[in-house]
Structures are given as structure tokens and as C-alpha cells.
Symmetry: C2
Subunit: 495 residues, 2 copies
């Protein structure tokens, strides 16, 4: 069931982009903020629906689907000219795609795995056959299995820290982390400060720092022990679940690319999904909510906002948001990652017995994966630039970044990584005005205990979703879906 | 000299507010983002000026005045229906006002002191005659001078910490704090973590925590040692300058209230100051910048944006802001303070030999001042609710907050603080959608070293001001003025 008074029904509607990422803003047209008196200009159209969802990523589309299934009308307003949010397929020729956004799923991620099943999509295993590379102090070591070839004492140090982190995660209630017995203490220390107290060897510290940066796309100094514990708690209270490939969050990939989940959801939602409609304002008046986007004002009973907290300030609310929500949103900055891939006719590293996975102390690419399609045709090497390494390349040109990435790939996989390269794709998510960072929001010290409950507490008829509001696998595709379904349930209970 | 093609010249122009804090947003009218092609609707007006300044607080007005004095045209677009930003006078009867925003000036604050002189305004000393109150563990002690009546050992602990903080401040270059020799180390630890390492007695720790919260309106866990060192460096590298009344940043007040500085500046700028014009978008195209506000689009050679970093995301930029600037702005949240004042026929505490100043371990009001007008008629007690105490009262009603404040005033000054009260005024700055917190932005760990230079680096023809961008007395009125003058100089050098 799509919205009443709907005029566009041809698939999900598209408006021509007007050039530039904020092109949608050019669609501002006559009319007042919803709820305010005043003239509505010639171009304005007013439409009614039960629920408006802001954002057509996994959270928004999952919410919309649940609402539609319950027999209610829904409209999804998306700023971009595409669905998928932080998931995005990119064509690399031969009919294949790679994901330049989120891509992996793993055990325990029941929301996304169930959805994949329901949509008739298929998964395949991340390529792990063969040896991995460990690079440190200029020395490259190949190894088998999942444990890097560090010395026994270093391994014990690492396991000791991971064990402590997991124990802390087990003490954090995912719905209310601020109630953990040591919440204030753990939210008063940065992860760097926490790790300092272990007095680790440089190698153990480097490995753990890299693991943290690979999960959060920030440096250990940027977030708190409590946020780490919460994040780990949401992933089954085992940090290994976050960093592992097999048996972990990087275990499986989706045939055709992860954006297909959103594309399939949008297909089922049909005309309810409106692209190129950046929401400008949300006004509540007389028991209804008016959402202004492009030329249109939508009138709804409830609204679900799925954009990351760091971007909510881009929408004008009338009445203004509660102070606690507005201040929390100032304290949930996005991580920094540039996802870079080189394309080859074939995954030549496999011929050398390598699986394409690297853990390195030398940047800017310190982690690599074999990201080829299921049949290995073409071959794709994936390199992540994360945290401070990414920040230092934010203003570099793509050519400069490409050169830096290729230099890393050559360091790990030999000269063929440069000579045989047939293509290069990358995405710097911090430069994308509708995400302004990836993988997700990462809270600095003090934010969790500072504003208990503010992250999910509805503001009148406005509800919150998005992976930053998840209580399971927050920061992941699974968390986005979980948050959307939770927000839909909240709204349906009120309709 | 005001802008070319100006149509409104009657003083500084006012538009009727349409109700609600985002009322200005109701002025969205036909037209495209500047620089984008597309229709300009019937209501749109296009105007040209050399420089547009966004924000009519002290930074914006100071910038505009410098630009106008240099013979260039300027327009100041202000979202609110008043000037002054985070300074705001409130009438309390008898022809008197109190400030519910920033109010004090002190030695070393040459920018604001010079401006006060130039505008013909006068200052007077904050009332300090008599004894102060120190309240701890349920015991009230009166004392003379500026040193609270703590034991000798506790005083030594406190002085030791202050000395260490000052030494660190002396090592931080205010223009480039990320280059301090230990910048990464100091930006990796929260202030709470830093203080933990001193192993302080509970009393020493409480006094220092309160001092920090009184300066930043956040908890010690919320910011980094490097930010503290930078902030102190900007104030003469002596933390006492920040916390002292006499000889410090709370030394003097402005006759008629601090907002008079902005009101006087605006009077001199005349029609160049446009109120109730929240800026929606800033687009750069063909070497000019188009600023969209309300019904109008202003075309300028350069733009100075003075809104706090945490609120810059509320403006749509085309092209989008550089990634480093956008991500830094996610990492500069505003402090939390509720400024509360009770009014009495006279300052009765003076009759008891008290100066109205309190330092307490018991909230929500832990700091008080005598905030009466120069002649002490009427009497005004000022109480600050800051940091976590303020966060916990953000969603309380004014009546609830008033009751809590009065309870504190009675605790310190006796039952007369309740029985003789004739008025009550307060301002919760986090609830104000155009400030979303006070006193200023406070960076969490990692932010300073994460984005070197991003805070002030112009984005094309767009320049940045506001006290968060200051290099002297950042966070203070003085810093706002310094930042505005600096941004004006940047722009004038390019015109």
C-alpha cells in the first residue's frame, strides 16, 4: 500500500539531479515550514500519509517495509538520487560490481541474514583460502590461520586485552549502557588511555590499535572504553566477532553487491520511495507532522528519521528538538574511511598461495582483502584507509590517493599489483555530504553517560532509526535494519 | 557604507517573527540554491555586496565593522530577531537588566576592552567585597580572599595541578596546537584521565573538577588535556586567568549589560544588519558566493560564517564543504549551562558581610555570584548550573529548575533567598536552536590533532569566525571579537 494522493507511481520516482551533491537543495520552492501559517507557493504540493521515513538506507527501507506490511501508508524521502545509504555498488566491468560502502555480513546478524533470505538474495564466503600477510618494521611474513605471526608473549598480551574488553562488554546492557555499574568510569577514559594502562609492548599495542581503527575508523584516542564495550556488547560481547573474517562480521558477502538489499526493498516499496528529496524541515502542529522536501510537503501522523545523528542538525525542526537530543547529536561524530579497490584481470595473488588479506603497521593502507566476485573474474584487491591515515588524505586528489594505495599493494603483493592493474575505484565517505563519514558514528568520552536515553527517545511524533540507534550490531548493516524495524514497531504502536 | 541595491534602511531591519524559534525558516521562498541554475520564484530578491557575514553576534558584528571601515560593503544575516548571539540582556524592572548570556570581561582581553572604549560603554567591578562561601559535605564555611578554606595539603595538591596545567599551556602554540611537542599524547587523554594520574584527595579533585566545569560547562571526561592547554594558552597560559574574579576573566561587567556591545555595533552598521534571516544555503559559482536567507539571495565576493562549528551543518553548502572541515565540525560540541538569577529588592547578603560568591560540592547550583546592577538596586543572585548538572535538568520545566535553584540559594544564603525573592530569570542555552549550548564549543580527545588547521582554513571564498575559531581568549566575548577581526582581515586581503 503506498501513500494516499500519490501522483508518481512509476517504480520509485526519480527527479533529475541538478548537479553537485547538494543539488537537491536547489529544489527549495515557495511555501512555509510545515505547521507555520503563511503562503504556499505555486509549485508546492501537499500530500498525506500515515508515516514519513527520512532516508532510504537499510534503516529507512526496513522501517517502511514493516509499516507497509502492517497495512499503513508510508513515504520514504531520500536526499540522494539512489537508495542504499552507506551501501553502494560500483560497476567494474564484465557485468560485475564491487561495494564501495558496507559489504559484509556474518554470524549472529540475524536481521540482515533473514532479510537477505526473504529477498531471495544469496551470500558467498569472503575469500580466505591461502596465506595471509603480516607486515611489520619493513618485514613481510606470510602465515596461515587467523592469528598473526607474533611472538608468544605478544600474543598473550593481545589475548589479555581482548579478554578484558569482552568482560567489560558483558557488563554493558545494550539498551541502557549508561546503567552499567562502571559506566561513568569507562566513559571517562579514552581507549588510548585504557590501553596505556596495560603497559603493552609496541607490537601488541600496534596490533590492537589497528584492530580498533579497523572496526571504528577512528583512532583509539577518539572514543571511550564504554563505547567500545557497548559496541562489542551489541555484537555478542566478543570483540573477535567484530574483527574476524570466518566466524566474524567479515565472513560473507552478498552476490550482486550489498546495495541489492536496498534496491530489492525499494522495488517492493514502489512509488513510496522518493529520491532526490532532501528533507529541509519537519514541523509538528495539531497532532500531525509536516515534512518539507524539495517542492513538496508531506503530512503524516508519525515520522521516522534515519539519518546519522551527526547530520540531523541539517534538518530544521519546529518546534526545535529537545535540548538533550540536539546536544547528543553534537557528540556522535562519524568515522573516517576511504575504501579503495584495484581491479585486475584475475586475482594473481591466489596463484602465489595468498588470500589477499594483509595486516600492516605501514599505511596508508594497513588492511587488505581479496574482494573479487564469486568466480574470481575479475580480481579485486580491497584496501582500507582508516582513521588518521584517512584524515590526512581527505583533501588529496584521487590520483594522489591512488598512487599511495598502489604503493601499499605493491609492498604487499609485488610489482604486479601495479603493472597488472586494469581499474581503480574508491570512495571517501567523509566527502559525501549525505554521510560525512563511515562506517558509523563513534562517541567520544562522556557522551553515553551525558545524555541517557536521548539517542532513541522520540521527540513528540518524531522517531529515530539508523544504525547509530541500534541495540544489536550497531554500526553495521544488521544494526540499521534492526533499528528500522524497532522504530517501525514504535510508530505502529501509536497509529 | 551599506550594501548596494539596499532597500531596507530604517535602522537595522526587523521582520516579524512567525512564532517558534525556527520561525525564520518559514521564510523559505521560491528560488534555487545560489549558483545552481533553475527558476527564481516570484518572491525572490537578489542583492549584491562585497561581503556577507552570517551571524550578528560579537564575531559577525566585529567583522562587519572592520569591513565597512575599510570602505567595503557588507551585509550581516542573523537568524534571530535580535543581535548579540550568546550575549543577551534581560529586563528585571527598575530600568535595570541582567545578562542571561556572556557577561564578564577581564584583564588581557584587549579586543573587547578596546571595543567597549570605542563604543563609549563603561565597565564596573564585579561585586567581591566581603566573605565568600565554601560549601562541602554539608558544611558551610565563610572565608575571605580568593583561596577556598581547604587544608594546607589540599591547597598544595590544587596548586600542583594548576602549575602543571599552566606549564602545559605554555607549550601549546595557539595558532597551531597540533604542533605542540606532546600534542598527540595530550589529545589522547581526557581531563578526567589526566587528573586521575595525580591521585588527588577527594576534596582537591572536587575543587579542580568544579573549576574545569565552571570554565567549559562540560565534565572533565568530556574534553582532552590538549584542549585545556590550548584554552589556557589562549588566556595567557595561566588557568587562574580563567577562574579568577579580580585579576581574572570575571573581573568586570558592562554597564547596561554586555549585549550593549552588539547593540551599539549594530546601530553603527545600520541597515547592513538583517534580522530574522536564517541562512539556508551558501553556494559558490563563477567566483562569487550566493547566500540564501529567507526570501533573499545575496551575492558576495566573500562570506564570513560565524556560527559555532556544531551548527554549521545546518547550512547547505554547494559545493559541499571540504571533508576535513565537515568532520571537524562534528567534533566541537557545545557546553551545557543554565544561567539562573533570582531578583530581590536589595542584595541582602551584603548586610551579612557576604559578597554572594559560593563554591559548593552540592548541586545543581555549585557556583554563585552577586550579579546586582552597579548601584545594588535591585539585588541579584546568579547561580550557574553547568555540565552534567545542567544536562540532567535540560528537560525539566522552568518551575522545576527554579525550585532547585532556590533550594541551593537558601542553602547558601538562608531562607531570605526564597522569602524575599521578587523575580526569577533563567536561560538554558542548549535549548536555544541558534546556539544549542554555551559557553562555547569544547573539543573531545583527538579532535585537535585529527584535523590540523581545519577550524580556520577558508573553504574557497568562505571564511570562518566565531569564538570557537579564536586564537586569543577562545570561548570568550574577547575571542569572538578577535576572530571576527581576523576573518575580516583575511577577506579584505582578498578583495
Amino acid at each position: 500500500m503506498t501513500a494516499e494522493n500519490e501522483t508518481e507511481r512509476s517504480g520509485f520516482s526519480r527527479r533529475a539531479a541538478l548537479g553537485g551533491a547538494v543539488a537537491g537543495a536547489a529544489g527549495i520552492a515557495a511555501g512555509g515550514v510545515a505547521g507555520a501559517s503563511g503562503s504556499v507557493g505555486v509549485a508546492a504540493r501537499k500530500r498525506k500519509t500515515d508515516v514519513v521515513v527520512v532516508g532510504a538506507g537499510l534503516a529507512g527501507l526496513s522501517a517502511a517495509r514493516a509499516i507497509e506490511k502492517a497495512g499503513r501508508t508510508v513515504v520514504v524521502l531520500e536526499a540522494r538520487d539512489r537508495v542504499g545509504g552507506r551501501t553502494l555498488n560500483e560497476k567494474i566491468g564484465k557485468g560485475e560490481v564491487v561495494e564501495i560502502g558496507g559489504q559484509w555480513v556474518g554470524p549472529g546478524q540475524t536481521h540482515v541474514l533473514d532479510l537477505i533470505d526473504q529477498l531471495g538474495l544469496e551470500t558467498f564466503d569472503t575469500y580466505v583460502d591461502g596465506k595471509s600477510i603480516y607486515y611489520r618494521d619493513g618485514t613481510l611474513t606470510e602465515y596461515e590461520g587467523i592469528i598473526p605471526p607474533v611472538s608468544g608473549p605478544v600474543l598473550i598480551e593481545i589475548l589479555n586485552v581482548l579478554g578484558d574488553m569482552n568482560a567489560k562488554a558483558a557488563a554493558v546492557p545494550v539498551e541502557a549502557p549508561w546503567t552499567a555499574p562502571q559506566a561513568v568510569e569507562w566513559d571517562s577514559v579514552t581507549l588510548a588511555g585504557y590501553l596505556d594502562d596495560f603497559g603493552l609492548s609496541p607490537e601488541a599495542r600496534d596490533v590492537i590499535d589497528l584492530a580498533i581503527t579497523s572496526v571504528f575508523a577512528v583512532e583509539p584516542r577518539d572514543t571511550s572504553l564504554l563505547f567500545l564495550a557497548l559496541y562489542t556488547a551489541m555484537a555478542g560481547a566478543d570483540f573477535n566477532n567484530l574483527i574476524n573474517t570466518t566466524d566474524g562480521a567479515q565472513e560473507k558477502r552478498i552476490v550482486g553487491g550489498s546495495q541489492r538489499i536496498s534496491l530489492e526493498l525499494a522495488k517492493r516499496l514502489g512509488g513510496a520511495v522518493k529520491l532526490s528529496r532532501p528533507v529541509k524541515s519537519i514541523g509538528t502542529s495539531g497532532g500531525r507532522v509536516a515534512v518539507r522536501a524539495g517542492d513538496d510537503t508531506w503530512s503524516a501522523k508519525r515520522v521516522i528519521v534515519t539519518v546519522p545523528p551527526a547530520l540531523i542538525g541539517g534538518i530544521r525542526f519546529n518546534p526545535p528538538l529537545p535540548a538533550s537530543k540536539a546536544q547528543l547529536d553534537q557528540r556522535f561524530p562519524m568515522g573516517t574511511v576511504i575504501k579503495c579497490m584495484a581491479v585486475y584481470d584475475s586475482p594473481f595473488w591466489r596463484d602465489d598461495g595468498l588470500n589477499g588479506m594483509t595486516t600492516s603497521d605501514t599505511g596508508p593502507v594497513k588492511l587488505t582483502y581479496d574482494n573479487s566476485p564469486p568466480d574470481g573474474d575479475p580480481g579485486v584487491l580491497l584496501g582500507f584507509i582508516e582513521g588518521q591515515d584517512a584524515r590526512e588524505l581527505l583533501e588529496a586528489s584521487e590520483a594522489e590517493r591512488k598512487a599511495a594505495v598502489v604503493e601499499c599493494f605493491v609492498r604487499y603483493f609485488g610489482s604486479k599489483a601495479e603493472s597488472a592493474m586494469t581499474g581503480y575505484v574508491e570512495k571517501s565517505w567523509a566527502a559525501d555530504p549525505w554521510s560525512r563519514g563511515c562506517y558509523g558514528g563513534v562517541m567520544p568520552p562522556g557522551a553515553i553517560v551525558g545524555y541517557p536515553g536521548a539517542v532513541r527517545r522520540p521527540a513528540g511524533h518524531i522517531h529515530w532509526a539508523g544504525t547509530e540507534t541500534a541495540t544489536e550490531w550497531g554500526g553495521y548493516m544488521d544494526g540499521a535494519i534492526q533499528s528500522g524495524q524497532r522504530a517501525a514497531a514504535e510508530v505502529l504502536a501509536k497509529l
